[in-house]
Symmetry: C2
Subunit: 275 residues, 2 copies
């Protein structure tokens, strides 16, 4: 089973397009977990146990661990999902990108060391720089396309023969780069018009959409723009809105409520889009 099949099965099983971003910041981890010898892992484990029947994926962002030197806790987190919820894929959000033998090392980091099901990558170095990732045919490779930040357009929005760079990229990703059919793209929720243009180009390639919640993306507009013909094809990520739903020791129950609410809000919109 490859990554996209695993993702679709989890989406179906949990009736969910919701991905929870596991981006813990030590100062915001509630006391209950902060007293643990492994506060990042303790926090994540409680969040995972509280939400595993509501999500289609988890997405830990690696910088949050690397900044503090707690790679071991990132590894424990991914292992915990694999052992306890093996049907839920883990997307390692690392935005890696390099060339040749160095890209191979980054692929080893994501897929062998951390055993992630997918990794986010940066396409600026071109198609050959992504091959070491894409060659893992059973893994997912999630390529940055149109990012959610205000400056995302500085390069991505530049026009080439009347078409923006991110659309050229989407075309490359959907065709010549996608030999193993294991590519996904990142398009920020803050740009629903751009999301619609990407969807038109890439057919049924799944799109990972950050920027709902804290960054202000509009859920209904996102779904309208991004769902594929079968009302699927999106992975809607929320991090801070879920994991910090409460700053107290009831954080896990609060995360569950927030996940349920967002999953169901997505499904209501999804239904109204597809009927």
């Amino acid at each position: 089973m490859n990554f996209i099949e695993k993702l679709e099965l989890a989406q179906h099983k949990n009736n969910s397009l919701l991905c929870v971003g596991l981006d813990p910041v030590l100062e915001r981890i509630p006391d209950l977990c902060r007293q643990s010898a492994e506060p990042f892992f303790a926090f994540n484990r409680a969040l995972i146990d509280a939400t595993a029947d509501l999500v289609c994926a988890y997405k830990p962002q690696i910088a949050h661990y690397a900044a503090c030197g707690v790679e071991a806790e990132l590894l424990s987190t991914i292992s915990y999902v694999r052992e306890n919820y093996p049907h839920i894929p883990v997307i390692l959000d690392a935005k890696r990108g390099d060339i040749g033998s160095t890209a191979e090392k980054y692929a080893l980091e994501a897929f062998e060391r951390y055993q992630a099901d997918a990794v986010t990558v940066n396409p600026y170095l071109g198609g050959d720089s992504l091959e070491p990732f894409l060659n893992y045919a059973e893994k997912g490779v999630v390529i940055l396309c149109r990012t959610s930040n205000p400056g995302g357009g500085d390069l991505q929005g530049l026009e080439i023969d009347g078409e923006a760079l991110y659309l050229k990229l989407a075309r490359l990703a959907a065709t010549s780069w996608n030999k193993n059919q294991n590519i996904l793209l990142v398009v920020g929720a803050t740009w629903p018009d751009e999301l619609a243009k990407v969807r038109k180009i890439v057919g049924e390639i799944p799109l990972l959409v950050p920027g709902i919640g804290a960054q202000g993306g509009d859920l209904e507009a996102v779904l309208k723009a991004g769902l594929d013909g079968e009302g699927r094809g999106l992975v809607i990520n929320s991090s801070r809105g879920i994991i910090y739903a409460s700053s107290g020791d009831d954080f896990a129950a609060a995360a569950r409520r927030a996940s349920l609410e967002l999953r169901d809000a997505i499904n209501v919109c999804r239904k109204s889009q597809t009927v």
Copy 2:
């Protein structure tokens, strides 16, 4: 003293534009070091001691450590340079890039955890994604511009109003992004014509040039294209050609010979360019 001043001092002191890439691969580390409890660090330490009077910088590539979970040995390596050769700057080659609070975490990783003097970053996410790095005014931020790989042109070479993307980027980097005057750019040695175009746009901004040696870049062409008006402004990186100059236990002496040879070859070309 900011990064670029530190770099120029080291270039002057060692009469060198040579940067040695510390990219160890366990299978290629000679027996003498492989028996150590910290083989990556033992290898690097010997290389550093053998070359510290011949280089202007060291550039460890982080994926080589992350793939094997030896972040501690990367940290030991950088600390060793800082303690023993404090005038030699360390460029952490990580090619990071993300937005907002996540980019801040990556900046913490490079500048606080590892105490690097500079870090390589990927510009695809735009100017605001680089600010958390650029805000460290005393640190160097080395932005990918035109990479040395065959596919580097897939995006970087696309033409916008008759000018390639990497040149648009060079212009942004040299002007509106460079408020703290701490930007450098990466341009591969495999593209001397492109290097000349970048130099023309960016004035005296230093350029980090990988791709000499294993990747086949032509030294004379690179220097002709890339030196600034004062015969400086380049950091010429070599990794495999130096660190694997011998596969035996004489690797450090061989690395010294290879470094001396390349440093002097650069200086001979440099002299003939500037007189």
